[in-house]
């Protein structure tokens, strides 16, 4: 039995693209799975670049008074490391998971707005490329009136005001040249991408759940996607406005943040962190979601306190908007504000604690299969716990005034964002690998990756607590030999290279397994959620028949019932049900409509970098090119045939 899928042909001005293989199938795709995969690879590419930048930083800091980098280069490297990891690596890699999994977990064929989804991806790509074009086109130098002994060089011509871009240092007077413009406008473009996908996911979750998929039956990963999308929708507009202010200050002579014109540099800090703190939860909540999927599966137990975990996630997201000034305890804020934000910061520890305890409750009494995704999830709990506890010490305002701006903080947020977010992401990458590629990854290499990363991670970021308490400030290009910080800095650098080694192991595993791995069954983990009821790799139409969900962890309950002791017992008919599902998943019996690919998302997105360059170089022609691309994209988008979107299946 063969199956042909081809779009119906109709004559109209614009024909929608129809490639299903080759490069054009990827460029014009609106399939959430392909977009997810592209998001994943692009984000991983930027993760490697950000990691390379980190290694360069660590080489510089391995010796006191080192001259491996110039000050300009060091400052550019730490700015780009932070900006890259947050906006170009962790956020989009989470977006990769959202894209690929969200429709599968709620039983949908695609997201609500497939073309917007593609648009969001291409804007992200163009935004990242725009930001990184600073290494080619950008310029940076000494503050007005200052002197440099040597040229800045290409490595130093990247943004150098920190990922936080504190004013007035990141303003034109103190950061001349165009590098910081690339930063401000680059983030602006990336923000558009995130905002679009946030609304897309919110709409998808509200409207496209399959029959019986009530809110309180949704997998926790879907819940966390929902929470993150709201966080994005509410926090990104704040940074967008602040970035417009900065761009205007830098390019058009306004003084929003400049004291000499009556502006206020502290206003920037408030706006930045009012976005920046929810951003932290944007980075970590997806990992919470992944871990909440992995732990029950490999413990063979339901998630302990599902409702509590869901509400704790939303609690964290909500309180996350009320703690921003804890980034500013040493700044110009009053003791009353310090006390208030100190307390609100303590409060956020409560729902976070609830999550950790409930995860422990999940594995307690289970039958733990310690394979790679499970190891990463368990490692996540252990490492995130350390990050959470050091976070509580920051809420002790007076203690924080000692710790802030030191390596203690660097240690803290790497335990949260690396030990937390990234461990969770690796857990998810291994967990869903069979579903995406239809192959199994190599378990031994996976475990080597985990242990190397665990050791490297703790060697890198553990001693940083100590370095910070011993007085090593952040963003420090050199430190004096008398500060006695050398020993632990060497250890940290060694740790960083062990992490790099673990990443190489991961890449070897990925490439090898994707090509030569064992063929994956459609339910390799005896899993609980409905994305495992479909074949591996996921067929282009996802579900042959819209699934009907009767309970939380529906797939598990299809396979298992409970005996009088409450232990799981395999249903007699389970094997037959699985066989039927596999048969049905590969051979849809009904007519399936899928959205057609489109040229216009990439056309529309390609206009934005031109507009960015137009602002930086105040160039009318570039503005015209950008606007025309936007117009063509928008016009084509609006007028391309919608009724032709059908794919038709015919069976012979």
């Amino acid at each position: 039995m063969t199956k042909i899928i081809e779009p119906k042909r109709q004559s109209s001005i614009f024909r929608r693209p129809s490639s299903e293989t080759g490069i054009w199938s990827w460029i014009t795709t609106v399939d959430h799975k392909k977009i997810g995969i592209m998001y994943g690879y692009a984000a991983f590419f930027f993760l490697l670049i950000g990691g390379l930048e980190a290694l360069i930083l660590r080489i510089q800091l391995s010796q006191p008074d080192n001259n491996f980098l110039t000050a300009a280069e060091y400052n550019a490297m730490f700015t780009m490391h932070g900006t890259t990891m947050i906006f170009l690596a962790i956020m989009p890699i989470s977006a990769a998971f959202f894209n690929y999994l969200l429709p599968l977990q709620i039983g949908a064929r695609d997201v609500a707005f497939p073309r917007l989804n593609a648009l969001s991806f291409w804007i992200f790509i163009f935004g990242g490329a725009f930001l990184y074009s600073t290494f080619i086109f950008g310029t940076a130098g000494a503050p007005e009136g200052g002197y440099l002994a040597e040229e800045v060089g290409w490595l130093g011509s990247a943004p150098n005001g920190g990922w936080f871009g504190y004013q007035p240092n990141a303003g034109m007077k103190y950061s001349p040249g165009t590098a910081m413009d690339y930063w401000a406008i680059g983030l602006q473009i990336l923000g558009i991408a995130s905002l679009i996908s946030a609304f897309n996911f919110i709409t998808t979750i509200i409207n496209m759940r399959t029959e019986g998929m009530r809110f309180m039956r949704m997998p926790v990963f879907t819940w966390m996607t929902f929470a993150v999308s709201f966080l994005l929708a509410f926090s990104l507009p704040i940074i967008a406005i602040a970035l417009f202010y900065v761009t205007f200050d830098r390019k058009f002579g306004t003084t929003f943040f400049l004291t000499e014109g009556g502006g206020d540099p502290i206003l920037w800090q408030h706006l930045f962190w009012l976005f920046g703190h929810p951003e932290v939860y944007i980075l970590i909540l997806p990992a919470f979601g992944i871990v909440s999927e992995v732990l029950p599966t490999f413990s063979r137990k339901p998630l302990f306190g599902y409702a509590a975990i869901v509400f704790a996630g939303f609690g964290i997201a909500f309180i996350g908007f009320g703690v921003w000034a804890h980034h500013m305890f040493a700044s110009a804020i009053s003791p009353v504000a310090q006390a208030g934000f100190g307390l609100s910061t303590m409060v956020i520890a409560v729902p976070t604690g609830v999550k950790i305890f409930n995860w422990l409750g999940t594995i307690w009494g289970g039958k733990l299969k310690l394979n790679t995704p499970m190891l990463f999830s368990l490692g996540f709990i252990g490492m995130f716990l350390i990050g959470g506890l050091s976070g509580v010490t920051h809420s002790i305002v007076p203690a924080d005034t000692q710790q802030t701006d030191t390596y203690y903080v660097v240690a803290h947020f790497h335990y949260v964002l690396f030990g937390g977010a990234l461990f969770g992401i690796f857990s998810g990458l291994y967990y869903w690998f069979p579903k995406v590629w239809g192959k199994m990854y190599n378990e031994s290499l996976g475990k080597i990756h985990f242990w190397l990363m665990m050791i490297g991670f703790n060697l890198t970021f553990g001693p940083m607590h100590w370095l910070g308490l011993q007085g090593q400030v952040r963003r420090t290009w050199v430190y004096a030999e008398e500060t006695n910080l050398q020993f632990w800095n060497i250890v940290v650098t060694v740790g960083a290279f062990i992490i790099a080694l673990s990443i190489i192991v991961f890449m070897i595993n990925w490439i090898f397994s994707k090509r030569n791995g064992e063929k994956a069954p459609f339910d390799p983990w005896d899993a609980r959620t409905i994305e495992w009821t479909i074949p591996s790799p996921t067929p282009v139409w996802n579900f042959s028949k819209a699934p009907i969900v009767k309970s939380l962890d529906d797939f598990w309950h299809t396979k298992y019932s409970e005996d009088e002791e409450g232990r799981a017992v395999k249903r007699a008919e389970a094997d037959q049900i699985l066989l039927d599902l596999e048969e049905e998943g590969l051979n849809p019996s009904e007519h399936i409509e899928l959205p057609s690919p489109s040229y216009f998302p990439i056309v529309l997105a390609s206009g934005l970098p031109f507009l960015g360059y137009a602002v930086i170089y105040k160039s009318i022609p570039l503005a015209l090119i950008g606007s025309i691309l936007l117009l063509i994209g928008g016009f084509g988008w609006g007028t391309e045939p919608l009724e032709e979107e059908a794919f038709e299946d015919s069976h012979e």
Binding site: A71, P168, S299, G462
Partner: protein, 356 residues
């Protein structure tokens, strides 16, 4: 010093936990070896150590930190212990039965919501009290103005009419009230052994209290990223006995000493007056600048043991390096390379040496 061992103890706990997990990979002996290195590395003193307070403000912060730290250690041991225990106990074995399907336990969940709330309340009370204690202006404090510049700190003593740089001289065992602002970007004043950090902001005044127990020298460092040479924006705080402090004040109030004609120092003064130094630097009794005083006051340069934002010790070798090309040492500095000859540099160093 005890505090150092406490931190080492925590690190050992962490190391031990990892040890339990990786014992197949790393032999126990190696970890012991690591621990030994750790302890030997901690015993030496670090001048920016935030855990060895030398005054009441820093001490009240320190106490709060250790209270939180030990509570965190207890929670860490319990939770990490529970995690490791469940991994070892419930690890899949060939004869493991299918687990009981427990969906939650409301009582337990309420319990582990309330316990953290209580613990946090315990920490919150002293935290809030300390916040306000630290912010209060102490009675009969000595007022000193701190002005941040890229990349050095300027100090002014309004009561005594003194302006100096890089080294903050204070009387020991007396509260000091710093009134701070910035001349350019944000800076962050930090003397870890005396108090936490406080920003210096252009256009607003911020305040920080210091109090040193006894005469000593402390290190200061700018905490906030402030541009190219942020890492070299350092400082010293010198606390003197009341008597020494008064002597220092008297000395600082004098103009620069008069020079003998035809000495090398007098030659240096000519270089100083003609080479361009006078555009930015003040030497009381010799030269005052017309515009903003954007560079350190050099009237008593010779008694300061550090210069260039306390990035360099005040000695012959460093001075000649600095005068030859300041940007080589502090990238972005506002002090230009004046293309001085070696003879001019030597004369300038001789002159600077007389500024006591």
């Amino acid at each position: 010093m005890i505090t150092l061992y406490m931190v080492s103890a925590l690190s050992l706990i962490i190391v031990d936990n990892i040890n339990m997990l990786v014992k197949n990979i790393i032999k126990l002996k190696n970890l012991r070896f690591l621990a030994l290195i750790f302890l030997s590395a901690c015993i030496e003193n670090a001048p920016l150590d935030s855990l060895s307070p030398e005054g009441p403000y820093a001490r009240s912060i320190d106490e709060l930190f250790w209270l939180t730290f030990w509570i965190a250690v207890v929670i860490f041991v319990i939770v990490q212990g529970a995690l490791l225990l469940s991994i070892f106990v419930f690890k899949e074995k060939p004869d493991s039965p299918e687990p009981k399907q427990i969906h939650g336990n409301t009582k337990l969940e309420i319990l582990w919501t309330i316990i953290p709330v209580i613990i946090l309340a315990v920490i919150a009370v002293p935290t809030v009290r300390t916040i306000f204690d630290l912010a209060n202006e102490p009675e009969d404090a000595l007022k000193i103005e701190v002005i941040g510049h890229q990349w050095w700190f300027e100090y002014r003593y309004p009561d005594y009419g003194i302006t100096t740089a890089n080294i903050l001289v204070i009387p020991a065992d007396r509260p000091i009230r710093l009134e701070m602002w910035s001349n350019d970007v944000l800076h962050n004043y930090w003397v870890p052994k005396l108090n936490g950090k406080r920003y210096l902001v252009p256009g607003q005044t911020t305040y920080l209290n210091l109090h040193a127990d006894s005469p000593d020298e402390f290190w200061a460092q700018c905490g906030e990223y402030c541009g190219l040479s942020h890492s070299k924006m350092r400082g010293r705080v010198l606390s003197l006995s009341e008597n020494d402090f008064q002597l220092w004040v008297k000395d600082q109030q004098q103009d620069a000493v008069k020079l003998e004609d035809n000495s090398l120092a007098a030659e240096g003064q000519q270089v100083y007056l003609n080479a361009g130094c006078t555009q930015c630097h003040v030497i009381d009794g010799v030269w005052d600048v017309q515009g903003d005083r954007i560079a350190p006051n050099l009237t008593h340069f010779a008694i300061r043991n550090v210069f260039a934002g306390a990035a360099l010790y005040n000695n012959r070798e460093n001075l000649s390096k600095w005068l030859a090309n300041p940007a080589e040492i502090k990238p972005g500095t506002f002090m230009p390379n004046l293309e001085l000859t070696e003879a001019e540099i030597n004369a300038l160093i001789a002159y600077l040496g007389t500024l006591k």
